[in-house]
């Protein structure tokens, strides 16, 4: 029986399991994405919280781990309204893109930074923070694209326009929708520079195109729900 003590983790999703238990998707720092069963925890007084770093002790050799105990290692972040929807999207994205038990300490780190930044951000900035996270996530999973040079090996020009070509990179084109400035901002992950609404939309579409092959046929449910909201 393998037992791990006080592993830094974030909760990504909790669903009811059998009569009184819960199935929990957890992003751990050193052991990647895991699924745990927490016995008899439904309706229990000490509630495990989202968007808050916890230390989790668990055991088990099979894919389904058994949660032994947890303690908070962070202050609470209460996400409400739109921010909550963004947080849920973030969590679903990770559960869909990461393989189980595939360690990614760097993704654990950027997730922590992302929820902290989201917590403090206003609407436009929240969206930009998500776009940067998607970019970082793709990079760390090995699906990164060249953002300093275009597909011809020329340095990205801040004042030029580009098209994105799947699996290849950016192609300079006067009719291109993506500005060199935006590509640069994404590339250096500049969360202070908040793009305009139009640029945010362009960036959303760019990332969506980049993510699509790894998300697969089943659409992200949180995205669907989010799109059903009135603007």
């Amino acid at each position: 029986m393998i037992k791990i003590d006080l592993e830094p983790s974030y909760i990504l999703h909790i669903r009811p399991y059998r009569e009184s238990s819960q199935l929990i998707d957890v992003l751990t720092r050193n052991h990647g994405l895991l699924r745990m069963v927490s016995r008899g925890s439904r309706g229990s007084k000490s509630k495990i919280q989202y968007f808050q770093k916890i230390l989790i002790s668990y055991s088990g050799k099979s894919e389904l781990k058994k949660l032994i105990k947890f303690e908070m290692d962070d202050y609470p972040r209460i996400f409400l309204g739109e921010k909550l929807m963004l947080g849920i999207y973030l969590n679903e994205l990770i559960t869909r893109l990461l393989l189980h038990e595939d360690p990614h300490p760097e993704i654990f780190k950027i997730y922590g930074e992302c929820i902290q930044n989201l917590f403090n951000a206003d609407h436009s900035k929240s969206l930009w923070i998500l776009r940067i996270f998607e970019h970082q996530l793709l990079n760390f999973l090995g699906y990164g694209i060249e953002c300093r040079e275009d597909i011809n090996g020329t340095v990205i020009d801040n004042n030029a326009q580009y098209d994105f070509i799947d699996q290849e990179g950016f192609h300079k084109s006067s009719k291109g929708k993506i500005s060199g400035k935006l590509i640069q901002a994404l590339s250096v992950q500049d969360i202070e520079m908040v793009p305009s609404d139009v640029e945010l939309k362009i960036c959303r579409n760019l990332n969506r195109e980049r993510l699509a092959p790894y998300i697969g046929d089943k659409p992200l449910q949180s995205r669907k729900l989010f799109e059903g909201l009135k603007k």
């Binding site: 509630k47 908070m72 739109e82 849920i88 559960t95 449910q221 729900l225």
Partner: protein, 194 residues
């Protein structure tokens, strides 16, 4: 037959195999009359209880007693997750409006959609009726908040007062025994003291 009975009891929440055995042998050995009565009530309830056409709570009639009550205030609608939540609010005796029972919560990752909860029905209900206030009384869980947010968003453009039940320190409770999330919620939901 006995095995089947025991297995049936384990379908109840919080009832494991041992308790189920106790239930079964108790009825068989000592209280057949109560057993027959239980069987009859179960049969009747399972056959005749349905969802209220108006608010979706459980009732044996087409319209439940609250919806049918002319003394209830039609202008305030309280939205809850389950019929049991409705009962708990009724027991508090403080609410005199009407209800809408979702029968669950939105959970996109688990594929529970707005249609599953009858939110389309709720939307037309809100638009067509004389409602001026909606109280979002879904749970203080992630899913309860997502559900509340979605319904709030549905009311955009309508002239409605949308409120959310407060979450915080239990009455008679001490701060010392509340977890940090509850305290954070209670602080952000604080109101003027008078």
């Amino acid at each position: 037959m006995i095995k089947n009975l025991i297995k049936s009891f384990t379908k109840l929440p919080g009832v494991g195999n041992k308790t189920a055995q106790r239930f079964a042998y108790h009825l068989l050995e000592r209280n057949r009359e109560a057993g027959m009565e239980l069987a009859k009530s179960l049969e009747l309830a399972m056959t005749h209880v349905k969802n209220c056409k108006d608010c979706q709570t459980l009732t044996e009639n087409d319209i439940c007693s609250i919806c049918a009550d002319p003394d209830r205030d039609n202008s305030i609608l309280c939205i809850v997750e389950t019929p049991n939540d409705l009962n708990l609010i009724e027991e508090s005796g403080i609410f005199k409006g009407k209800y809408f029972v979702l029968g669950g919560y939105l959970s996109p990752i688990d594929g529970i959609t707005p249609e599953d909860l009858g939110l389309d029905i709720l939307e037309s209900k809100i638009k067509e009726s004389e409602i001026i206030e909606i109280i979002l009384a879904t749970n203080a869980t992630i899913e309860g908040e997502v559900t509340a947010h979605f319904i709030k968003n549905m009311t955009k453009g309508l002239n409605l007062n949308v409120t959310r039940i407060a979450h915080g320190i239990p009455i008679g409770g001490e701060l010392e025994y509340a977890d940090s999330n509850t305290i954070a919620h209670a602080l952000s939901d604080r109101k003027n003291y008078s």
